[in-house]
Point group: D3
Chain length 134, copies 6
């Protein structure tokens, strides 16, 4: 057996099936159309439930709107080079209104930040007193 | 000599001094108050000029506002654990309107994304056809 | 020529062949069945020998048993999103007794650690005196 | 204000105070002795509550014992170079029985895994069919 | 639409076409043979222009020759496990004279550095006074 | 006890002392002046011996000269933001002839590579057939 097993809805155990149903309900899709990430998580129903609860708690409109949250999620996924997450959250960000132009600007910021993060490390730049805790 | 040398404005060569002056003018501060990152970059004036030009080109209002851009910059810096950048761009994001509540939500998204990025890798989740290029 | 050349046992030079033979003997398999990682390393026989010696020295039962060592190896590989290593060390960990339930708990710990590692960086949490060196 | 603010128990709001009390109860310590990570999280009580719930759900004995879980947590923290987490989970792992010898072996595995993860990437090693999903 | 769209030269807008032409002229190839990275960047012509200007400014002979610069680029790409960049800059490094033996030594250094970087983090080694800024 | 214990030469056990002596002999210094990395490794003499043997095997002139090898080591350390390694290998690289100008160019390449590595991931750029294995 390998790391790559996916559990389809019809083969899922009741606990996992319940989570598939909640995801499907929230997204207004058929539970069999839920994306692969959750089919993989279904291998461990309790974890799947816990991760879904966290996703629901965090990825909800608050002080930040959904588009901004998905763009931040995408920026982290690009930085970690997580191809699955770049594809899935890129799609989510667009669903919430990220335009092609916004995506281009997001990529420019992510690229520049990854560059200057290393410049700060390589030049061993000390944090300015102005930024430090009083 | 070590990686940690900082060049103060008054010791900078003309090319670096000109960049310090531009940064100061844009921020409405004295060139001697420019932050340490640039004092380190001043060791290599041509690079300092190039990085400042890139910073100016990217960190400007466009399809995304400055607050969103600084929050994306901060999200990347937190993911890379760049303490200098977390401190400096955290300050910038606040200057552009990031509230304590927004920061809390940003951290929640960054934390969750870093978690699920690894779950996708560990479960070796294949990208859904729906996300793939036609 | 590209980075992806693999040297098959029958084409390997004597020094690399000797390492293939040792790996095969240790694993009780035919030297032609040794996995791709070593076929790639065979491009540089001296490095292949050195890496195999390190692997033998580290991945042997000691204060930690093989299952625990392979699970730690897997946890690092998941964190670095090394798909090859997740696949190969996932298989090794299972060979040494990692059950599906243990894998689920390992993934939960790896995911949570990657999340809190970033929270510590983003909140710039200072190390408690209790954790510091006396 | 900066990223580094810590909220002491006596200044915490009721929701955060309740989490401090739970942590203290579980660890058998005074709530004022809870470590800095939680004092930082107390800035955002709802997140603090959610993270503590996740920590409780994951860091509990199951198919894996606490020592093994804390060693996996430590391996991830070392790989991400999270100094705070290396210090705190190193202390936790020792509390759960990790000896100096076990720590040495853990470090050897973490170091070797980080090395071979990059060798697999640099040689662009394809995953063996034997490791692939049937 | 997904993240993976590539813009071919004949479909590119004038601004992007001009960059394709410059890249082709510098490399002495047909603009239709420019590699995929630039076809992706062509989605955002202004960014494509900016990135090409940076590439030209940095990847030019100076105090370091092109072979050394491409090997450093490759070392970073291997460390970040960027498969595209390992393939493209591996090819570039070879074009500039990196032999198979040099590649083997580069990989040995990259592997060892990734290992000792984590040992330094895990043992929490303080920087020697001799290395510190006076 | 914490992760940060350093073993001084006079307190080291015979096996570790022998390694300190070899390092000192190679560098032409007093064994009490060996840098902190090795004082930390001395906690686990067998690992210290193994790491020193690897360091000796890899960091020796071959197809690549010492300056180039130390610059590659530095590039990796900057990318991983290992402050200890940036300080120690930056000093080593200078000892082997890296000038301030070379360091500036190295940092420019490292910064640009870290930027484009993420652009390749974010745009999900497929590897060109020209770069693929035949």
């Amino acid at each position: 057996m390998t790391e790559a097993v996916l559990i389809e809805y019809d083969q899922a155990d009741p606990e996992a099936k319940a989570v598939f149903d909640e995801i499907a309900a929230v997204r207004g899709i058929d539970p069999r159309q839920v994306n692969n990430f959750w089919k993989a998580m279904a291998r461990h129903p309790a974890q799947m439930r816990r991760m879904w609860s966290n996703m629901r708690a965090v990825m909800t409109p608050g002080a930040l709107d959904m588009r901004t949250k998905e763009m931040i999620y995408l920026a982290v996924s690009v930085t970690n080079a997580c191809d699955y997450c770049v594809a899935s959250h890129g799609a989510q960000a667009r669903k919430w209104g990220m335009t092609e132009e916004m995506f281009g600007e997001l990529m420019a910021v992510v690229g520049l930040a990854n560059e200057t993060n290393r410049l700060a490390a390589g030049y061993r730049v000390p944090v300015d007193a102005a930024f430090k805790v009083p």
